[in-house]
């Protein structure tokens, strides 16, 4: 039983990590909480649905979702987010409004019913006598790959260096010739792409409907605030808080489990407002 519990914790953490990375880089570079994050997750889910309906290989759904997310993100940053650079609380509201718009457009386009997306890998494997979903395990690998790819982008490319410079000190970066506006634009696009990709990754597990992203929104953003802007930090936070959620859900009640992340995060932030990893 403990074995399954551990697997649950690890896979839940992986899912949380994948879902939250997009939010984290937007927060890091742009100092902004993107409340449309849930909507981008949903878009990713529907992109996957469209891809599989068109008969494509289910694995292709993932990059397709990322592309759709990126394009949309770039447009959104330009039109809605850029004017609100100096008003962070208003930016939360505007991105929430955007989320509503996206949600309604999806409903109008696809209808309210729940859709099912084919999983790229189905079946289960035997683990210590229990059978465990193979796809969930694959997700752990994919989440780690996402983390690795993002780290490579940030630490081995010029764009990544520019982005880190902007995260640390935007004015200094500008004074050195970095067009911080372009960095912000691309970062938002990247964050939206990551969210969409995560949406596509999780739909085989939870099915697709216009409100897919909502429950993940609050959990992601609590995670990101607790972890600070750091990829390893996010992994740790996902493990700790995700683990807590799994334990509470398993041993107490699933409903209380849904609350765990939010409550624990609120308490942690009260005690250490800068999050777990900074300083």
């Amino acid at each position: 039983m403990v074995g399954v519990l551990v697997l649950d914790i690890v896979t839940t953490a992986a899912i949380l990590f994948a879902v939250a990375t997009g939010l984290m880089i937007i927060l890091g570079v742009m100092k902004l909480i993107n409340f449309a994050h849930g909507a981008f997750l949903t878009i990713g889910g529907y992109a996957a649905y469209v891809a599989t309906s068109l008969g494509w290989n289910p694995w292709l759904a993932i990059p397709f979702a990322a592309l759709v997310g990126f394009l949309l993100g770039v447009i959104v940053e330009h039109v809605i987010v850029r004017p609100l650079y100096a008003r962070p609380l208003d930016a939360i509201l505007a991105t929430w409004g955007l989320g509503i718009i996206i949600g309604q457009l999806i409903t109008i386009g696809f209808g309210r019913q729940v859709q099912f997306v084919e999983s790229p890998i189905s079946g289960a494997i035997d683990f210590l006598g229990q059978s465990y979903s193979l796809y969930r395990l694959v997700l752990v690998v994919l989440a780690l790959a996402m983390g690795a790819a993002l780290t490579a982008l940030l630490y081995f490319t010029r764009f990544g260096l520019n982005a880190r410079a902007v995260i640390m000190n935007e004015d200094l970066a500008r004074g050195l010739g970095i067009d911080s506006t372009k960095v912000r634009l691309l970062t938002f696009g990247l964050g939206a792409a990551l969210a969409s990709m995560a949406g596509a990754l999780i739909t085989p597990l939870i099915s697709v409907d216009p409100n897919l992203g909502l429950p993940w929104l609050v959990n992601s953003f609590m995670l990101v605030l607790v972890s600070g802007v750091s990829i390893p930090g996010l992994m740790v936070a996902a493990l700790i808080l995700g683990g807590a959620q799994v334990i509470v859900s398993t041993y107490f009640s699933a409903i209380l489990g849904g609350l765990t992340i939010v409550v624990i995060a609120a308490v942690i932030l009260r005690v250490r407002p800068q999050g777990l990893t900074s300083g």
Partner: protein, 608 residues
């Protein structure tokens, strides 16, 4: 023109203050509204009345959101939680315990008490000195989420996801319910209107504008926010109670995050900070949504979403700009009519501790991790002393000022003001001990008038009314002098953001002096001032030390200014005091010369 009134000689207290309030306006408009509401049900069909009753309860809830967000700047997603608490209190008591007048009162009381308790807890969590506004919003976000889950977890008791319905309730006629809801809304709106127009209402706006400045004016910002949150929670609970009693159904949606965000949308579209706007916005949008719920709900929601985003991005005033602007002009002109307060001298507060040392700093240090910004800071300040703090950039001057004004700032050491330890008190308590801090950049309340800014500064000594505006503005002698000499007395009704830079600096100084501080801390008071303005500030500061015997500590780079007006100079370098003496001592010192210019041409300075 403002007049100055002096209290009669020998009078120990200010004369009885007249209060102007909008009570008359509120009563008239309220009566009119009640009449309209009274007649309305007879002209509308039952379906509309039904929808309107719900909208009226929700409008009252939207009003509380406007008070918190539009006026005080607290972005709250959580008012739906309190609405839900009130609703579920009603449903739970009536379903599981009993029904009747006594039970109804009990249920209402329970709902209110529970909501207020939750609000107090959430407020304590969210609104502490130094909390970021984002964190506050997060806590208010967590509230409805937690509450919804609690309802789900309640199983049969709370009806879980299906909710409770069909419980015994007051099956009054629809007209009576309409009048009940309408009267509730009118009363709440009326009271809220009086409140936001009162002097206390200006404090809320000041908090939204510049919370830091409020803290340094001695205003207990966290306490005020928590109190407001608790009251808003209570009102929300009553609205929820009424809603549940009328509709006879409760469901988790009533406590949820989505309703919480709907409220924000209504307030934003209606016009935040106008009270009437959100009420009208809530009613209009909710009614329209209900009508369209059969037809094309998604297009409607899409439209609302688009409008919301447009409003947030481009029209922070809301979608009723015509109404909102006309409204604002009405409000402002009503205020301007003979509402300029009369300036008056305030009788000085008791200074019992006159014999003690004004400022005693011992071994204060401040580190950021391993970086030592201040070390071994030891000095005293006497009454009537004008002490200048000089030193190169990065020497720690502003950090020292911060340590004196905020008990949390220093890493160690002791500071005593007139014998009382500063301890770990937050800025508003340091003001109570006698510290007045003026910031380097003119730090006033942009949308408040000069008179209102000064009145906010008097919060601690002249508690503002929660329902009226005092017609007299009593300021201490020193502040009054500044106001008159710099011409601010002629601009009492001008919004602070329209003042020239020099005037803003003068206003901030007057506000600090309005606190009747014993010690005034100034950070580069001459920055950006013209030569004339510099001379004037110099004369003002000198007279403050001579006439009022204040201790003044100022950080300055302009060494000419320092030389002219200081009675003592302290030189800081790399976090330590290197010299503490008279002006002549410092001016002639070689050490100072070296520190400032890194070696004069022709001299070989030794490697340190």
């Amino acid at each position: 023109m403002a007049e100055r009134a002096r209290p009669a000689a020998g009078a120990g207290r200010s004369p009885v203050l007249k209060r102007r309030s909008d009570l008359g306006i509120v009563l008239k408009v309220g009566a009119l509204a009640l009449v309209v509401l009274g007649a309305a049900p007879f002209f509308l069909d039952i379906y509309s009345v039904n929808i309107l009753i719900r909208a009226l309860f929700l409008a009252a809830l939207a009003l509380t959101v406007d008070l918190l967000w539009g006026y005080t700047g607290i972005l709250t997603f959580g008012q739906s939680a309190f609405f839900g608490i009130g609703a579920y209190a009603c449903a739970l008591v009536f379903t599981h315990w009993g029904f009747g007048a006594g039970w109804a009162v009990l249920a209402l009381a329970l709902g209110i008490v529970a909501a207020m308790a939750v609000a107090a807890l959430a407020g304590w969590l969210a609104f502490y000195h130094g909390a970021s506004p984002l964190y506050g919003s997060i806590v208010t976000l967590a509230l409805p989420i937690v509450l919804t889950q609690v309802v789900f977890a309640g199983g049969r008791t709370t009806g879980s996801s299906s909710g409770l319905s069909g419980f015994p309730t007051y099956y009054w006629t629809i007209e009576i319910w309409f009048w009940v809801a309408g009267a509730f809304l009118v009363v709440v709106t009326g009271l809220a209107w009086l409140f936001v127009r009162s002097d206390m209402g200006r404090i809320l706006v000041a908090i939204k504008e510049n919370e830091t400045r409020c803290a340094y004016l001695g205003i207990p910002v966290p306490r005020i926010k928590i109190l407001l949150f608790v009251v808003a929670g209570g009102i929300g609970a009553i609205a929820g109670f009424g809603y549940a009693a009328f509709t006879n159904v409760v469901a988790p949606e009533l406590t949820g995050f989505l309703l919480g965000t709907e409220l924000l949308i209504w307030v934003a579209l209606g016009g935040r900070g106008t009270l009437i706007g959100p009420v009208m916005g809530a009613i209009l949008i909710d009614v329209t949504s209900s009508y369209l719920s059969g037809g094309l709900p998604f297009y409607w929601k899409l439209l609302v979403g688009i409008l919301f985003v447009v409003v947030i991005v481009a029209l922070p005033q809301g979608l009723m700009p015509v109404v909102a602007n006309r409204w604002r002009r009405l409000v402002r002109s009503a205020e301007n009519e003979a509402e300029t307060p009369v300036l008056e001298v305030a009788s000085p507060r008791d200074r019992a501790h006159d014999e003690e040392q004004p400022l005693d700093v011992r071994n204060v240090h401040r580190n950021f991790g391993s970086l030592q910004v201040l070390q071994g800071i030891d000095f005293i300040a006497n009454k009537g002393e004008l002490l200048s703090l000089v030193g190169p950039n990065g020497a720690g001057k502003t950090t020292l000022i911060r340590c004196l004004a905020d008990g949390h700032e220093r890493s160690g050491g002791d500071i005593a003001i007139y014998g009382q330890a500063l301890g770990r008190w937050p800025p508003d308590r340091c003001v109570a001990l006698g510290i007045g801090r003026k910031f380097q950049a003119a730090n006033v309340f942009a949308t408040l008038t000069v008179a209102e800014c000064l009145r906010v500064a008097r919060y601690r000594l002249d508690r503002p009314s929660v329902w009226a505006r005092k017609s007299v503005l009593a300021l201490p002698e020193a502040a009054l002098r500044i106001v008159e000499e710099t011409g601010l007395a002629k601009t009492l009704e001008v919004e602070a953001r329209q003042l020239a830079h020099g005037q803003k600096q003068a206003l901030e100084l007057a506000m600090v002096l309005a606190l009747e501080p014993s010690i005034v801390l100034l950070d580069e008071p001459t920055a950006g001032l013209t030569r004339v303005e510099r001379e004037r500030i110099g004369a003002i500061l000198t007279s403050l030390t001579e006439r009022e015997r204040l201790s003044i500590l100022l950080v300055e780079h302009d060494l000419d200014f320092v030389r002219e007006i200081s009675s003592r100079v302290i030189v800081l370098h790399q976090g330590r005091i290197v010299l503490d003496g008279s002006v002549e001592d410092v001016v002639g010192s070689d050490l100072v010369r070296q520190i400032y210019s890194g070696g004069v041409y022709g001299e070989r300075s030794e490697e340190s």
